[in-house]
């Protein structure tokens, strides 16, 4: 129930195809058209038929199914003025939504968006989760989630499914957090169904950086289908989006740019490796190199101190960030060559420090991947706050759009 990994619209070779598959595929096709239409565009059955290539008869039948599930809604208003019988508009039902959740080092969060991605409710609760057992954290999150769900229901939005983002390696299939060093979690299997029971779509587990990358895909500039999202947090995470799909690799945790080797002669990393990007460009590494004491300060305070130091042109801070930019360039260059990726989106502290990071990053990319990653393809994340939460929710919506039959019966 909880394991709703993004499934292909049509069955993978291995199981026989039947006419039900055709139906499912066409349900997804129609659903996709409606989902990608700009809101207020008054899409009609006839238009869908024309743009998809399906016949009007098929579209009518498919739309009927979708209306019955409740994810679609007819709009009575018909914009007159054109000749001929006016069509009935179709749109995603604004009374249905999904919940995004996040567990992070300093906080837990939950929010509900409707199916078009608009935020209905959102709640962040500070909580020091470092080294905490998973049970109390999940209990706190469950309480928050129930609150947020009733708040959404109060606004007329019913929650169909959920996504949970966690800062660590996850196995979505078994709902297990394999390793979240900053939380101190190792091989923790989460009982997601108990977190928020009775959701028709269940709850899916995501890696935080991957979820943030997905948010960037959904909410960033249109037409960008391939990029590397680099998430600067305590560690350095990454999310790879290739042809508008999250690329997760054979075991589901690709995109770990934080552990690309940027200096073979570098220092030891918490992962056991040597010279990883994280040892130069992670938050702790930058604070240390900039001479900002971390003791007693929260990460947010340290970050403000760093920005202040940079604004005052303090050489130590400038040098630390410059070095991070150069190393980030090396890591991105290597990744770009191996993966044939030409665009980079900076998130987390890399977005905050972009002004000071960019020169050395651009220079480094020009040196190590000339003609591959151009400065204009280095951008900062469009989503500032709650990226992981929004990305997790958005991904659940997307998987629903790609397999709407899951709501039937």
């Amino acid at each position: 129930m909880a394991n709703t990994a993004p499934a292909p619209a049509l069955p993978d070779a291995g199981s026989p195809g039947n006419m039900g598959d055709v139906r499912r595929s066409n349900l997804a096709l129609v659903m996709g058209r409606i989902a990608q239409a700009p809101s207020g565009s008054h899409l009609t059955r006839a238009q869908i038929a024309a743009s998809t290539g399906l016949t009007k008869a098929s579209v009518s039948s498919i739309v009927l199914d979708l209306l019955e599930t409740g994810i679609l809604r007819e709009i009575g208003l018909n914009p007159q003025g054109e000749r001929g019988r006016p069509g009935v508009g179709l749109e995603l039902n604004p009374a249905r939504g999904v919940m995004g959740m996040e567990i992070n080092v300093d906080y837990i969060a939950a929010g509900v968006t409707d199916l078009s991605g608009a935020v209905v409710v959102q709640e962040i609760r500070e909580r020091d989760n470092r080294g905490s057992e998973s049970a109390p954290v999940l209990a706190a999150l469950a309480a928050l989630a129930v609150e947020v769900r009733t708040a959404a229901l109060g606004k007329g939005v019913e929650v169909l499914g959920g996504g949970l983002a966690v800062p660590g390696l996850v196995d979505a299939g078994s709902a297990t957090v394999l390793a979240a060093p900053n939380l101190g979690w190792l091989d923790v299997e989460l009982d997601l169904d108990r977190l928020l029971p009775g959701l028709p779509l269940g709850i899916t587990l995501f890696n935080e950086a991957n979820a943030a990358a997905l948010a960037e895909l959904a909410r960033g500039p249109a037409g960008r289908h391939d990029f590397l999202y680099v998430s600067g947090e305590v560690g350095v995470g990454g999310g790879l989006v290739i042809r508008s799909e999250l690329f997760t690799g054979p075991e589901g945790h690709a995109g770990e740019v934080g552990h690309v080797v940027v200096d073979p002669a570098g220092s030891r990393c918490s992962c056991g490796g040597t010279g990883c990007l994280e040892t130069v460009a992670g938050q702790d590494a930058i604070f240390a190199a900039a001479g900002i004491a971390g003791k007693g300060k929260s990460r947010l305070e340290s970050m403000s101190a760093l920005v202040a130091a940079l604004a005052e042109d303090q050489p130590g801070a400038l040098r630390a960030v410059e070095r991070a930019g150069t190393s980030l360039g090396v890591a991105v260059a290597s990744t770009a060559r191996v993966l044939n990726i030409g665009a980079v989106v900076l998130g987390g502290h890399f977005a905050v420090l972009e002004r000071w990071l960019r020169p050395s990053l651009a220079e480094s990319l020009a040196r190590y991947a000339p003609g591959k990653v151009f400065p204009e393809h280095i951008t900062i994340a469009a989503v500032e706050e709650g990226g992981a939460l929004l990305g997790a929710a958005g991904s659940v919506v997307r998987s629903l759009v790609e397999a709407p039959h899951r709501l039937q019966h």
Copy 2:
């Protein structure tokens, strides 16, 4: 006609699905079962029905279609001894094959395999293609291909399609060699239909390292679905296989391990970058570091000289190869982290030098990607000669197996 990129068995969302798609999907399903059966296993319709989940009636109808295209054959012989009516065996028609072709720096080659991958004819012709215009090279290859085709026909094998491997960046869609530095080709669009006209499946263009990786997938140890193939030639190329699929990235040329940065302070690379793996582990780089003069010697001669030097424990040669191994380790470690890949297959000169390369490579991997790539997952290529050729041919066969309807009518 020529652009037969491996297509999914079922239509990508975007075009309406109809019952024809179901048929195509099930044709591929049945075809797949027959193709993956060990030769001589006497697969029957009933067995296929049982293992695929299709009904006997459907299988019969599908098999009939496949027999009509000529890719399948019934075996009259029925192994008696079991009770009940004996089934008729089905197998890939050994009278059908595909042609693999290769253009490389020092030679051109063409060969025909049958649909089960067995080599029917193979011909390598030495030819210095360095800096040569594409037209004469293609003319020579066309002549060779025609010869090989008639030779195959003489052995009763009809060629259905072909694959051409080239050492450079290619765009399979437009049959264009974007850049092949070692040939001196830049943006050369190939007229593949003229190379060998009248093939029902056309001819597909491949990158050499990618094709070799595919050969490794098809002919290497069974059960290995994810690996990085590193091809050591004049340059260092790579092929990424993920979940038994070639991963080519958004623009079709992922896997370029040769240009991962292994030493930010390293020397300039022919690609314009700095400190790329190729500047340390490419053939020329190793020869130079080992003190083996390239002047006047062919690459083969230089390689023999190097192996001889290594066998004699000459320190210069040992150091050069050790350094290459260390750098290869850095590049593989970075790649492994970004792509979540845990196995490496060494091809080209890396396979030849494996004995001397392995210690430093293993040590390097232990240092830079501890717990990710284990020494026992570093193996040398199972295919020694003509890997690219076999891989290109095999990939064409595979795309046929995945979409057998392309031969209908």
